[in-house]
Symmetry: C2
Subunit: 474 residues, 2 copies
């Protein structure tokens, strides 16, 4: 993240690859190869043809999943970092030399290739809708093409996760939400990037230590069942843990949840003023009933300040049910359901050429329409609530707030491309509060948020379609 | 992968972190922090208590998703690499020093910590079922505990993806399957590791260039719609591409699929013997109807050898439908559905303490039973078909093939821990062919594969439960 902590993105020059078999990771030194091969074959052809003109590519989601009333745009900062650092080191070139058709002239040119284009984007934490450009890349055709996979991969991941997490946070209301999902997220990169997506979406903390190191997000964690199991008894385990971490949260469901709570009460009596435990965590069973019973036991013992945290298979729906039922739960640990966005783990995201050498371009594949050219989104608000968006061509003027702004110029971040994580987090909270209320419900809204295409953009689309029809013949 | 190519897992000592804002990635130098914080707090407590005895942790899936009749175990080689390289460099220790309770004595001890334990595991590519240990870690309690998150994260990811991909491959039968999913997978690590999971599961090739570099899997790729769009016409685009890649596959659906096929025919006539294109790809519309019509057009032009490839929103179900309908499609490009395992993106995977200092351990949380101690799985086969598994304690003798074998001894891989990717791929094909046929259907099998718990293991569980009940009181 820009302007936060120094991060461990610089791997040590020794330490990797030692100790036996190699253990591969993706990093800035090899990410240039983390692309679909067709990008290199196309680049090779563009190089041969001298097709180095200016292109515009638009990143957008064709349709929202039925489970989402909005998407929370996320991942831009990572993408800008990728674009800044994109290069093809000797190692990558040596590998490509083994692919048929990739000759020395091409590889020499590729070795010099850097991203020197412009990027326009909606800021992170902005709710977006179908067909709205989350990001526009304006660069030479090869530059804009070769970044396709990484740009999509990172915006997709972080937008999927932020969109899910904002629902979980909405369901929890004032109660805290802690991310416990690292172990079942899809790999280590998702494990790391999820932390920034979740933070932007309003999640309060994570269990992920590296995320704290890299992004400065709050990290929390106490004990697993194995800690209790490894000791001869639960009381002994609690006592030992409290000696090191007196203000901890005790996990009480290893054997019998309410017995565990009573053990906590016994410890409180035993320790008197030295008892500084902050809470108990329930991780299984009927969380509503157990939370109520635990609350009663704790209150009866004068432990009204002890918080009750709940975890175990939670998602936005089960959290809402607990909240609506009035279960006395102060915070939720949410794992897998949020960590893989189980109900909508992917988006129909596309990165499409919309302009080449100043001419709007599209394709005519059924059900996959493209709006041509450079664009702007205008968000029209009435009484501080968004009422519709207008999707227009660049240069058009409309009522409403323009959402796309320039975040990179000639390969360098603009001021807008350097915002901190908390700015995006604050924006998400603010922008979400301005959405129409039905969109903020967990249920599918009866009608999608209206996104109008401006008459001028429609006309551009018609003209581009005509040209495409000629291209078909041609 | 062991014994294959040198890989770029060793990041360059320069190149990262340059060029403006830092771009963090997870790699061997910082992965020690990619853990849930509770592991460090527990370690801190174990260190204080001197609880450094031998522990056994078992990694297993509690329940299979209803969409899966088996899981294909995958990810072991990556996990062994993680265990070999696990360490906490100064940078990590400096960060942990900022966490309350992590004092110098603990951090000094942590700086020396390496994984020196034993690992038993089912080999990659083995079908496994609910409650069967995919992996057992036998090590000092802190060593076995601190690797929990990374071990789970990698086995989970690769088992999720391999299990999904083996269904896709089964549906495709003799037809080829190419992985196109990188852009919508969850982050870069999933993008890389998916390639080995898919290769083990039988997928024929990937679009992912880095996967070819790292794992030596076949890589393929030709052109995107943007290539066609960027040219004035489809014919011109095809002609230009063929000049560089004469034996390519042409993407024909940018404007009108059958017109695109006719354009290919015109090019074939024009070029005569110089026409060496291998196939066409359909990426939208009614793939069955378009494939038939394309086949007719191509055959009528004497282009019987030209292959027809199909892609666009495919999964095992739509592929099976196309295959059963007899659509003349020679290969499938499969993206998102396989890349995020959309129907079952997570598993109820657990990593649980089952033994400490020689005593079986368990917890009593409802619906989350643990079988205590070290185990072995015996696969009983009749006429080369698996009929049941027996889950037993270590040292028991039963009919059937033992599946768990030692892959790491005192922190070093055994011979079994060093197998190549193709060995696992061959195993998967062989082992899957030995499963009962209903399990190989896409539909949920009427009855799950029988996994019996041996009477001796049941008895051990009973005894451990009694001890746990005492622990509850204790």
């Amino acid at each position: 993240m820009s302007g936060r902590r120094a991060d461990p993105g610089v791997p040590p020059s020794t330490g990797d690859g030692e100790g036996g078999d190699a253990l591969p990771w993706v990093h800035s030194g090899n990410m240039g190869l983390l692309v679909d091969q067709y990008q290199f074959t196309m680049l090779r052809a563009y190089h041969a043809e001298g097709m180095l003109g200016q292109a515009v590519f638009s990143l957008f989601v064709r349709r929202l999943p039925p489970e989402r009333n909005y998407l929370l745009a996320c991942g831009l900062d990572t993408v800008l970092g990728v674009l800044e650092q994109l290069h093809f080191p000797d190692d990558a070139l040596a590998h490509l030399a083994s692919v048929e058709g990739f000759d020395e002239s091409f590889l020499g040119w590729l070795s010099e290739l850097r991203f020197r284009g412009d990027v326009w984007a909606v800021p992170e934490g902005t709710p977006v809708f179908a067909n709205e450009p989350i990001l526009e890349v304006r660069a030479s055709l090869p530059e804009a093409q070769v970044v396709e996979t990484l740009v999509m991969n990172q915006i997709h991941l972080q937008t999927v996760l932020a969109s899910k997490a904002s629902r979980v946070k909405a369901a929890a209301g004032e109660r805290g939400v802690v991310d416990f999902g690292l172990r079942r997220m899809h790999g280590t990169d998702a494990g790391l990037k999820s932390a920034r997506a979740f933070h932007i979406a309003g999640v309060d903390a994570t269990s992920n230590v590296l995320a704290g190191r890299v992004y400065g997000v709050p990290v929390t964690g106490t004990m697993a069942h194995s800690y209790v199991q490894a000791h001869e008894g639960e009381m002994e385990a609690f006592r030992a843990f409290m000696r090191v971490f007196p203000e901890t949260v005790l996990l009480v469901d290893t054997y019998d949840t309410l017995e565990g709570v009573r053990t906590v009460v016994r410890l409180a009596r035993e320790l008197g003023d030295d008892f500084r435990v902050r809470g108990v965590r329930l991780d299984s069973g009927d969380l509503d009933a157990l939370a109520r019973a635990s609350r009663e036991i704790l209150d009866a013992a004068g432990l009204e300040d002890l918080r009750i945290l709940a975890s175990g298979g939670l998602d936005e729906w089960s959290i809402r049910e607990l909240v609506r039922a009035g279960a006395p739960i102060d915070g939720f640990g949410v794992g897998t359901g949020m960590g893989v966005a189980a109900d909508a783990p992917s988006l129909d995201i596309a990165y499409k050429l919309t302009e080449y050498e100043g001419e709007g371009r599209l394709k005519l594949s059924p059900e996959k329409p493209i709006l041509p050219g450079r664009k702007q989104i205008f968000r029209v608000e009435e009484e501080e609530r968004a009422v519709r968006d207008v999707l227009a061509g660049e240069g058009e003027h409309h009522r409403g707030r323009p959402l796309l702004r320039q975040v990179m110029s000639a390969g360098e971040r603009t001021e807008s491309g350097r915002e901190g994580l908390d700015v995006a987090r604050d924006r998400a909270a603010e922008e979400l509060s301005r959405l129409p209320e039905p969109l903020l419900e967990l249920e599918s809204a009866d009608s999608a948020f209206p996104v109008e295409v401006s008459p001028e953009l429609r006309e551009r689309q018609r003209r581009a379609a005509d040209r495409a029809a000629e291209g078909r013949a041609g």
